[in-house]
Amino acid sequence: MTVLRTSNLTKHYGKVKALNGVDIEVRKGEVFGFIGPNGAGKSTTLRILLGILKATKGDAQIFGKDVWHDAVELHKRIAYVPGDVNLWPNLTGGEVIDLFVKMRGGSRTKKREELIHKFQFDPSKKCRSYSKGNRQKVALIAAFSSDADLYILDEPTSGLDPLMERVFQECVMEVKQEGKSVLLSSHILSEVERLCDRVAIIREGKIIETGSLAEMRHLTRTTLNVETKEPMPDLTGHDGVHNVEEKEGAYVFQVDSEKLDEVIAYISSFGVVKIESAPPTLEDLFMRHYEGTGAGGVV
């Protein structure tokens, strides 16, 4: 079941085209990763989804309702964490959390205390004194202590330390288990890899790749670390092999996924002593799109 769908979403600022026909779809119960570098249009897309910006063209619906016209109704079911969390300097963190929960139409819950404890957050300080990570905690605690059906998170962990990042990941997994949906924009690819079921990559206001990680890996390369009895003089020239590095009889190189079979057959003729394979990381995938190089590219 589709929870969120945009079609041909376009946003122009004067002559600048921030978004150029974005199509994404988030299904119920999934964590959807939205990745791209700064300025690619991630935040613009999310802010249109929140009814804060008005799309120039195209259509965006959440729970079958228009994101602009039915914003207030929709927001009762959505929890949002913005990328830059700017808070009121003279209010305390605790006050802001309560305020945010109340603005969604909820009230203070036991969950709030649990999360404050989990995130090791001191709610009695004025927001003026909070670091970036602590301001993000305010937004995250407010988001996860409310009972939403869709969580829209814009780079929520950019200021968190690794321990807190782990807490955040637990929170995401928890809401996923409850059958809620999550739209997570990020450029921490390891995080997306760990959490997300499906991913969309955005570049210059356009979605250039979308699908499950498994599907996307198909289009990319596996890294092999091989030691053979005899040297492999022609490895570099072999079809589908890239970036060969040789060190004391060991070879580290990348293979296009569709050529894997042929390459393995080729290597084995030299007498394999050791072979290790690493699946393509999201980072490889991502870099490939951004460098615009590589065989079998989808660009």
Binding site: R47, L50, G51, I52, L53, K54, A71, V72, E73, H75, K76, I78, Y80, P82, D84, N86, L87, W88, N90, L91, T92, G94, E95, V96, I97, D98, L99, F100, K102, M103, R104, G105, R108, P123, S124, K125, K126, S129, A139
Partner: protein
């Protein structure tokens, strides 16, 4: 050992000077300039002894004593006596504020931002930073005193002698050094610059108040306040130096205490525990107008007190207006004679227009606050939740309308309260109040212009202020410059009937209110259509 504590103080002092190379001259020039301008104004307006004596009579009441200090030399009220009596205390208060701001800026604020840590990591002493700040600011205070004295002497007014001039100037220096020391102590005690300023300002306010109460009722109480000391120098009349030395001595003691406290504490630590805030929001904050109210609470209190005091200070001069106006040609031109209406009532209409326009400033700020919130990226938090744009803008507007009512009422209460107590054949309080609240529809038009700008072109918020300034010029100086009729009609304030001289005109007020409603509605339509930036 001692040297180590102060290493690099000279270099740091130059750094302080470099940071304040614009700020310090502006403060000094403003303070000295204001003093000399007042002397010039007094010398021109009160050139003869009888005029000065009539002024002296108006000073002989508890309200004036509370405001400017006990009257002295009143039997022979010279220009010098007038200056010291009416200006010394106010100037000293401003000098106190200057020192609070400057000292905090160079001590706790530097420390809070982590710059002191950087400096201390270099071969500079533990006390170098605070010493540099105190040295430079104290130097500025002494310079202020000397330049003021020289300026006064150079004015060449008979009753302003050399000794008195130096006493006047150095009174300011001593008060400045006292507050520099006081602030430096609070900068050691508090962990944040804000609370250091807060505590120092609170002491300054309390010092002013205890002196006010003391001067009216018990002199002993006045002696607990540095402002109580300074008004007892009786400058230009008896030239008593004791209080200046006392103030200066107290300042030195405070500076010594600062050094001691600084030497026994860690960098970025304080002595006052920073009070933990609320862990949970109060029901008030969670109410519909809770957030915008909370964001403007401090400003609201300051403006409310300010409007009351402003009204009261205008009101306190209403008593001797008739005799005063008859002597000043420019005022006669501004207030065209109308039969059957006293000059005071005429003046009252102009005063009301001015007070109403000043009362509009804060409500306008309250609406435009939403633009500031948007620029800082905080509107997103609200609109990203289940709050509609109408409700968001509405909450700011409702508060602003309430503020408009509050501000104009407070100025009228201040004006009426003080006016009635000093006037012999006083107007009734309702006359004052009605002629003030009649301006509300015009204020609402100004608010609606702000809503319009927020709704369609938040970048142009400067236009709202230009419109208010235009209104001020046209209404305040209109009759003097003889503008065309339509020029005055371009501002809503130009349409308001001049009560109590004119009768109230309901159709005009209704029309203005209707315009305000229409313009507001257009503003709301725009706000619902546009992108939220930030």
């Amino acid at each position: 050992m001692i040297r180590h504590l102060y290493a690099n103080t000279g270099l740091l002092s130059r750094l302080v000077l470099r940071q304040d190379r614009v700020r310090l001259p502006i403060w000094l020039l403003a303070l000295i300039g204001a003093t000399l301008l007042v002397v010039n104004a007094f010398a021109t307006l009160y050139s003869s002894q009888p005029k000065r004596q009539s002024m002296a009579d108006t000073m002989m009441n508890p309200a004036m004593t509370a405001m400017v200090g006990p009257a002295y030399g009143i039997e022979n009220y010279t220009i010098g006596a007038m200056l010291a009596h009416q200006m010394l205390l106010f100037t000293a208060v401003v000098v106190g504020i200057m020192n609070i701001l400057l000292i905090t800026r160079h001590t706790r604020a530097e420390e809070e931002d982590g710059r002191v840590e950087l400096v201390r990591a270099l071969p500079s002493g533990k006390l170098s930073n605070v010493t540099a700040a105190i040295t430079v600011i104290s130097g500025a205070n002494v310079l202020l005193g000397l330049l003021t004295a020289l300026g006064l002497i150079a004015m060449g007014v008979d009753s302003i002698g050399v000794e008195g001039s130096f006493l006047y100037g150095l009174s300011l220096s001593a008060t400045g050094i006292f507050f520099a020391g006081l602030t430096a102590v609070f900068a050691q005690l508090c962990e944040t610059a804000r609370s250091a300023i807060g505590w120092s300002m609170a002491v300054l306010l309390i010092a002013y108040m205890t002196r006010a109460i003391g001067d009216v009722s018990s002199e002993a109480l006045s002696w607990t306040s540095p402002f109580g000391w300074i008004v007892r120098t009786e400058t230009f009349v008896n030239n008593i130096w004791g209080p200046v030395l006392l103030t200066f001595g107290a300042g030195v003691v405070l500076i010594g205490l600062t050094f001691y406290l600084n030497s026994i504490r860690d960098v970025e630590a304080g002595f006052l525990p920073s009070k933990p805030g609320r862990k949970k929001a109060s029901p008030l904050l969670l109410s519909r107008i809770g957030l915008p109210f909370r964001l403007q609470r401090t400003a609201l209190i300051s403006w409310a007190v300010g409007m009351l005091v402003l009204g009261a200070s205008y009101g306190s001069v209403l008593g001797d207006l008739e005799s005063y106006f008859s002597e000043i040609e420019i005022m006669q031109e501004m207030l065209a004679q109308v039969k059957g209406v006293s000059m005071t009532e005429q003046f009252l209409t102009m005063l009301m227009a001015v007070l109403a326009m000043i009362s509009t400033i804060f409500p306008m700020m309250a609406v435009l606050k939403l633009k500031g919130e948007e620029n800082k990226g905080r509107t997103e938090h609200v609109l990203g939740r289940a709050i509609s744009r109408n409700r968001l803008l509405g909450s700011y507007l409702v508060l602003a309308v309430f503020f408009s009512f509050l501000m104009v009422s407070l100025s009228a209460i201040g004006l009426g309260g003080a006016g009635i107590s000093v006037m012999e054949d006083g107007l009734s309080f309702s006359t004052f109040y009605n002629s003030a609240v009649v301006y509300l529809p015009a204020m609402w038009v100004m608010l609606s212009v702000c809503v319009l700008i927020i709704g369609w072109a938040p970048r142009l918020s400067g236009l709202a202020w230009l419109y208010l300034i235009y209104s001020f010029i046209v209404v305040y100086l209109g009759s003097l410059f003889q503008f065309e009729e339509w020029v005055e009609k371009l501002t809503p304030f130009g349409h308001i009937p001049d009560m109590p001289v004119e009768d109230v005109s309901w159709p005009v007020l209704a029309a203005l209110t209707a315009i305000a409603v229409v313009v507001t509605t257009i503003g709301f339509i725009g706000y619902n259509k546009r992108d939220i930036h930030g």
